[in-house]
C-alpha cells in the first residue's frame, strides 16, 4: 500500500493496540527470564564440573548427577593411573554433611566438597582463588558461598560443626550455589575427617583426570571405560558429564516439563490476547475495510495490513520485553540468583515471541470477513 495504513492506525489508535503490545512484551519478558533462570539454575547443577579443570570425570557407573554419586572401589585410582594418556588423577570427595552452628539449634543437610588443595589442583579453579585454596590446607578450614552465609548462620571466623566435627570458616567466594543445596569447600583431608567413616575410609565418589598434552581424549576415555566395566567405574568427558547432569535436572526431575508447560501457557496467553486485540481492531474498522473492498482493493492487501500490524505489535512488544527482561535479569544477578543468558536460547525466545504475534495476526485476519462491502448497502 502506498499509504502506511497499518502503521498510522497503530500510532493513531495506540490505546486500542496497547493490550496486545503489553501481552507480547510480557510473553517475551517471561520467556526470556524463565529461560535464563532455567539455564542458570539447571546449569548450576553442573557447577562442580564447569568450575573445574580436567579432561575426564570418573564416577560410579550410571551416575546421573553429581549429588547422586556413590563411593568408588578403592583400587579405581590405580586402574586410571595405569593408562598412558593420563597425566594427573585428582580425587574428589563428595559427601553429605550435617550442619550445626549451635547445639541448641537444629541441624540441616548440606554438601561437602573435599578437594586437592595443591596449587595446581583441578577442582573449582574457576571460583576458588589460589590464596583461598592455600588457606584450605589448614586443617578443619572451610570456605562457603557468600550467598549461603545467612542460611548457614555464620560469619567469617565462626566455628560451626559438620557431622559433629568442628570446622572454621576461613573464607568466602561466589558461584557455588546449586539447585541441590548448600555447598562448602574443604580439603580432601578435612572432608575425610568429616565423613562418617573417618580418614580410614579412603574411597571417594569421583576422580578428575587431566590427560597428557596431545593425548587423544576419545581413545583414552574408551580405554578407561573398558577398564571401568571390569572394575566398577565409568568415565565421562568433562562436557559429556556436565550435559548428563544438566539433563538429569531438566528432564528427569520433572522440573523441565514444568518449565516447558509454563512456556506453552505464556505463549498461548500472549497469542490469545494479541489475536483478540487485533480482531477487535479489525472489527472496529470493518466498514472502512469494506469500503476499500468495494473500491476494488483486494482481500490480500487488507490481509497484509492486519499481518503488518501484528508484526509491528510483535516487534515493539519484543523490544519492551527485552528491556524488561534485561532489567529483571540485572536485578537477579545482583541478588545472586543463578541465571545464564545464552545467545541461542534467547534468540529462540525472541523468534517464539515474533511467532506468537504473527500467528495472532493470521488468526485476526478472519475478522476481515465481517468487512463485507455488500453490508454497507442497507
Amino acid at each position: 500500500m502506498i499509504v502506511a495504513l497499518a502503521r498510522k492506525t497503530l500510532l493513531n489508535e495506540w490505546r486500542r493496540f496497547l493490550p496486545a503490545v503489553v501481552a507480547v512484551a510480557f510473553s517475551a519478558l517471561l520467556l526470556l527470564v524463565q529461560t535464563a533462570l532455567v539455564l542458570g539454575i539447571f546449569g548450576s547443577a553442573a557447577i562442580y564440573i564447569e568450575a573445574s579443570k580436567g579432561d575426564l570425570w570418573v564416577g560410579y557407573p550410571g551416575t546421573r548427577t553429581v549429588e547422586l554419586g556413590r563411593l568408588l572401589p578403592a583400587d579405581t585410582e590405580i586402574w586410571v593411573r595405569l593408562d598412558e594418556a593420563v597425566d594427573r588423577v585428582e580425587p574428589y570427595r563428595w559427601i553429605y554433611g550435617d550442619w550445626r552452628v549451635r547445639s541448641d539449634q537444629g541441624a540441616f543437610s548440606m554438601y561437602v566438597s573435599g578437594i586437592d588443595t595443591s596449587a595446581d589442583g583441578l577442582m573449582f579453579t574457576r571460583v576458588l582463588p589460589a590464596s583461598l585454596r592455600a588457606r584450605l590446607e589448614q586443617p578443619d578450614s572451610i570456605v562457603v558461598d557468600v550467598a549461603d552465609m545467612d542460611k548457614l548462620g555464620v560469619v567469617l571466623g565462626d566455628r560451626p560443626r559438620i557431622n559433629g566435627h568442628a570446622v572454621e570458616v576461613v573464607g568466602t567466594l561466589t558461584g557455588l550455589r546449586t539447585l541441590g543445596g548448600v555447598n562448602i569447600l574443604t580439603s580432601l583431608e578435612t572432608a575425610g575427617r568429616i565423613q562418617p567413616g573417618g580418614l580410614a575410609d579412603e574411597r571417594v565418589a569421583y576422580y578428575v583426570v587431566r590427560l597428557r598434552d596431545g593425548a587423544n581424549a576419545v581413545d583414552a576415555q574408551r580405554r578407561l571405560n573398558a577398564q571401568g566395566r571390569e572394575h566398577g567405574f565409568q568415565v565421562w568427558s568433562r562436557d559429556e558429564f556436565a550435559k548428563v547432569v544438566t539433563r538429569y535436572w531438566l528432564f528427569d526431575t520433572g522440573a523441565g516439563l514444568a518449565v516447558l508447560f509454563l512456556s506453552v501457557v505464556v505463549s498461548l496467553t500472549g497469542a490469545v490476547i494479541t489475536s483478540q486485540t487485533l480482531m477487535g481492531a479489525v472489527a472496529g474498522s470493518a466498514p472502512e475495510y469494506a469500503a476499500l473492498q468495494a473500491l476494488g482493493i483486494g482481500m490480500g492487501a487488507l490481509r497484509r495490513v492486519v499481518i503488518e500490524q501484528a508484526a509491528w505489535i510483535g516487534a515493539s512488544g519484543l523490544l519492551l520485553g527485552v528491556a524488561g527482561a534485561a532489567a529483571a535479569l540485572w536485578m537477579a544477578s545482583r541478588n545472586d540468583v543463578p541465571i545464564a543468558v545464552e545467545a541461542l536460547p534467547s534468540l529462540a525466545c525472541a523468534l517464539l515471541v515474533l511467532g506468537i504475534s504473527m500467528t495472532s495476526g493470521w488468526a485476526a485476519v478472519r475478522a476481515l470477513r465481517q468487512a463485507d462491502p455488500a453490508s454497507l448497502l442497507r
Binding site: I2, L5, T9, N12
Partner: protein, 244 residues
C-alpha cells in the same frame, strides 16, 4: 476479458435485466427484487427513490458487483458482470467503479489526502502520482485546503466530500452512491448532491444514486421510483417519461 470502450454521454453503460433477489431468513424467503430491468446512461445522475425496504440498496449492490443476483443479468461497460470470477470482478470494481456510502467509512488515522490515495496504490500509481491525483480530486470537491485534516477534524459534509473524492480519484465510469445525503444537514446534503450531479457531467460518468431524500429529486437528471421490488416510474427532469 475485453476492455470497455470510451464512453459517450447518453450511452447505456449499465443495464440490468430480469434482476431477482430474495433474502432467506430461517425458512422464509422474502423477495426483494422481482424481475427488475433498467438501463443507466453515462453523463447523468440517475436517482433511484422509494420508501425504505423497497429494495433500492439491493438493486445498487447487484448493479455494482457487490452482491450476486438470484436471477437476471447485469451488463456493465459491455461486460456481463456476474459471469466474471471473483478476482476479475474485483479488478473491474477497481478500474471502473466508485462508491459513496451513507457512512463515510474513512480511516481515523489518515488525513484526507491519504484517504483518497489509498485505492490509487492498488491501481499501480506511484506515491507521487497518487498524491497528485488525490489533490486534484480533493480540489474538485473543494477540499484542497483541508487535505491535511483527519476525519475527527472535519464536519460530516466534508467527510462525505472526502469519500466522494476517494471514489472520484480513480476516474470511474460508474459511480454508485447509497443514501449519500441522509447523514447530512440540508446545506451539506445540497452540496453533496450538486457535486454528484456536476461529476456526472464533467467526468461523463454514470452516477447511480439511491436515496429516499426528497431534496435530491430536484437535482437528478432522471428519477426511477421503486416500490416493492419493482420500478413504478421513470421520470426525466425534462418531464419526458421513459418506459418503466
Amino acid at each position: 476479458m475485453n476492455e470497455p470502450q470510451a464512453v459517450q454521454p447518453g450511452q447505456v453503460v449499465l443495464s440490468g435485466r430480469g434482476l431477482a433477489k430474495s433474502f432467506r431468513s430461517g425458512r422464509i424467503d422474502t423477495p426483494i427484487l422481482r424481475g427488475l430491468s433498467l438501463e443507466v446512461l453515462a453523463g447523468e445522475l440517475t436517482l433511484v427513490s422509494g420508501p425504505s425496504g423497497c429494495g433500492k440498496s439491493t438493486l445498487l449492490a447487484l448493479l455494482s458487483g457487490l452482491s450476486r443476483p438470484d436471477g437476471g443479468q447485469v451488463e456493465a461497460l459491455g461486460q456481463s458482470l456476474w459471469s466474471l470470477d471473483e478476482q476479475s470482478l474485483e479488478r473491474f470494481r477497481l478500474q471502473h467503479t466508485g462508491f459513496v456510502f451513507q457512512g463515510f467509512n474513512l480511516f481515523a488515522a489518515l488525513d484526507a489526502v491519504e484517504q483518497v490515495m489509498l485505492p490509487l496504490g492498488a491501481l499501480g500509481l506511484s506515491r507521487t502520482a497518487a498524491r497528485e491525483r488525490a489533490m486534484t480530486a480533493l480540489d474538485e470537491v473543494g477540499l484542497a485546503p483541508r487535505a491535511k485534516l483527519r476525519p475527527a477534524e472535519m464536519s460530516g459534509g466534508e467527510k462525505q466530500r472526502v469519500a466522494i473524492a476517494r471514489a472520484l480519484a480513480k476516474n470511474p465510469q460508474l459511480l454508485f452512491a447509497d443514501e449519500p445525503t441522509s447523514a447530512l444537514d440540508a446545506a451539506n446534503g445540497q452540496m453533496v448532491i450538486d457535486l454528484l450531479h456536476r461529476l456526472a457531467r464533467t467526468h461523463r460518468a454514470a452516477v447511480l444514486c439511491v436515496s429516499h431524500d426528497p431534496r435530491v429529486v430536484g437535482h437528478a437528471d432522471r428519477v426511477l421510483h421503486m416500490e416493492d421490488g419493482r420500478l413504478l416510474d421513470d421520470t426525466r427532469s425534462g418531464a419526458t417519461k421513459g418506459p418503466p
